[in-house]
């Protein structure tokens, strides 16, 4: 008897839809903050960093000014550190500007339980006192376990709890897309 795992992938957003969603988010950020002179983008490792870079590019194209960008590693702030079987890989937080009094926009790929965002907010607070923290995500898949809501959402995707949503990015050697992955175990 052998067990085979087959992975079924259904694409929910393709490259163009992702670009359109990010472009809309860039416009919304500028509209809500009346420009971007007091705004800082902070991507959450790993996927959020690349999305933040894209948003930075879009924002500066639209507004013709630059916006500061940082990277946040939340490993040390996780609430499940002791519960995980594998040690998460520790990376560097790199925020090369003072966050105090800036409107910080956290950027992540998928918003799910909200625990990552909680950790990221704690991490940010340890670096200073931002005037505001806003949240931009490419996908909101629901199932929050904390009272957290995104200010900018690329797409709302209703999911079942055990479904797997993955954002694939060009920067990580994949074709840009958002997919629902269904893993089926077959016994033969």
């Amino acid at each position: 008897m052998t067990q085979t795992k087959s992975r079924h992938e259904s694409v929910i957003m393709d490259r163009h839809e992702m670009t359109r969603a990010l472009t809309r988010i860039a416009h919304e950020i500028l509209e809500r903050n009346k420009g971007c002179h007091d705004v800082g983008l902070v991507g959450i490792r790993t996927g959020g960093v690349y999305l933040a870079q894209r948003l930075k590019q879009l924002v500066s194209q639209i507004e013709r000014t630059d916006v500061v960008l940082g990277e946040l590693d939340i490993t040390l702030y996780r609430d499940d550190l002791a519960l995980r079987k594998n040690q998460p890989v520790l990376k560097k937080t790199d925020i090369p500007f003072h966050i105090s009094d800036l409107k910080i926009i956290l950027v992540d790929d998928v918003l799910f339980t909200g625990r990552t965002i909680r950790a990221a907010m704690d991490g940010l607070m340890d670096l200073g006192r931002p005037a505001e923290i806003q949240l931009a995500v490419l996908v909101d898949r629901g199932h929050r376990q904390l009272p957290i809501r995104a200010n900018y959402v690329g797409k709302n995707i209703p999911t079942a709890k055990d479904e797997n949503i993955r954002v694939f990015l060009e920067e990580l050697g994949e074709e840009d897309r958002v997919s629902k992955l269904i893993e089926a175990e077959r016994t033969a």
Binding site: A82, L90, K92
Partner: protein
């Protein structure tokens, strides 16, 4: 790969991959120590006990700061103020600490193997902060991190370790660390301070400092333990300083961008001249800064163990 060990007792038994893992874990913590709020919650609720049976300011403070910056609770035990004075054995002291639900025990002891005995007999994660003449692994790891940062890599570098190698746990840990990482290690000192058969550890032994220092990329000076002077290991401090002291002239013989290192505390004018301590080649204070980061990385890895 993840770090699977319960304790860090020495580098003799550590693989190159395990050492690299600790160094990688140390790297992000340098950023934390540079922040205005130098604290992350990774070890929140964990207890670290510093048990130091030998006087130490630098190492104990470094461990204490590392633990506190990880948000652990730290308790310092020193023998003069504890029940050790009342005749309690080391093992009983450790058992008591274990049953107070501590998580990590940092031990410095004058007997080689003390940390290992505690590690075998308790559930605590034990970190050896120096045991007799045996090992001082976190110092050697800090030195490795410093060399790696300054030189890009350790492999194929020529490193001289100079001084009282026989009585130095720093030297022993550094020899293990550097040879495993692929460096060429020379040890230099008077015959009374070089153990017999040291070449078996894969190092080259020299007695002439001028010869040994030529062309090296890194010089690690060991502290001359002045308290040992009564044991006739050398005729006079003055003679020792002349033969084995690192002077600006000797630095000239080394490679152009040589790193001068010292585990501290420095005897200025004895094993190392004033102008060398304060010179451009010295990275002694970087070693201290990296010491905190390495200890944070190590405690983080040990606390991840399930």
């Amino acid at each position: 790969m993840s770090f699977k060990r319960k304790d860090l007792l020495g580098l003799a038994s550590l693989s190159q991959e395990e050492m690299a893992l600790i160094l990688d874990a140390a790297e992000p913590f340098k950023e934390v120590s540079g922040r205005e709020i130098k604290k992350v919650p990774a070890l929140r609720g964990k207890t670290v006990i510093n048990l130091f049976f030998e006087p130490s300011t630098r190492t104990r403070t470094s461990f204490e700061l590392a633990a506190k910056r990880l948000s652990a609770d730290v308790v310092n035990f020193s023998p003069s103020s504890s029940s050790v004075m009342k005749g309690e054995t080391l093992l009983d002291t450790a058992r008591n600490i274990e049953f107070m639900q501590a998580d990590i025990l940092v031990l410095r002891h004058s007997s080689a193997g003390a940390a290992e005995i505690l590690a075998r007999n308790s559930r605590l994660s034990v970190i050896n902060a120096g045991d007799g003449w045996h090992e001082h692994p976190t110092q050697a790891l800090s030195d490795l991190l410093t060399i790696q940062e300054k030189k890009g890599q350790v492999r194929d570098l020529h490193v001289a370790i100079v001084g009282d190698v026989a009585h130095s746990r720093v030297a022993r840990s550094n020899i293990y660390a550097l040879t495993k990482m692929g460096a060429n290690v020379r040890v230099v000192g008077p015959p009374t301070m070089i153990p017999l058969c040291l070449h078996r550890l894969g190092v080259t032994v020299y007695h002439d400092f001028d010869e040994a220092i030529s062309g090296v990329d890194v010089v690690i000076m060991l502290r001359l333990q002045l308290e040992r002077q009564g044991r006739s290991l050398f005729p006079s401090i003055r003679e020792y300083a002349r033969l084995y002291g690192l002077t600006a002239e000797r630095v000239q013989r080394a490679a152009k961008d040589v790193l001068v290192m010292h585990p501290g505390p420095v005897n200025r004018g004895v094993e190392i001249a004033h102008d060398v301590v304060d010179g451009n080649a010295a990275v002694i204070l970087e070693q201290v800064a990296n010491g905190v980061a390495v200890r944070m990385g190590l405690m983080y890895l040990l606390s991840q163990r399930n």
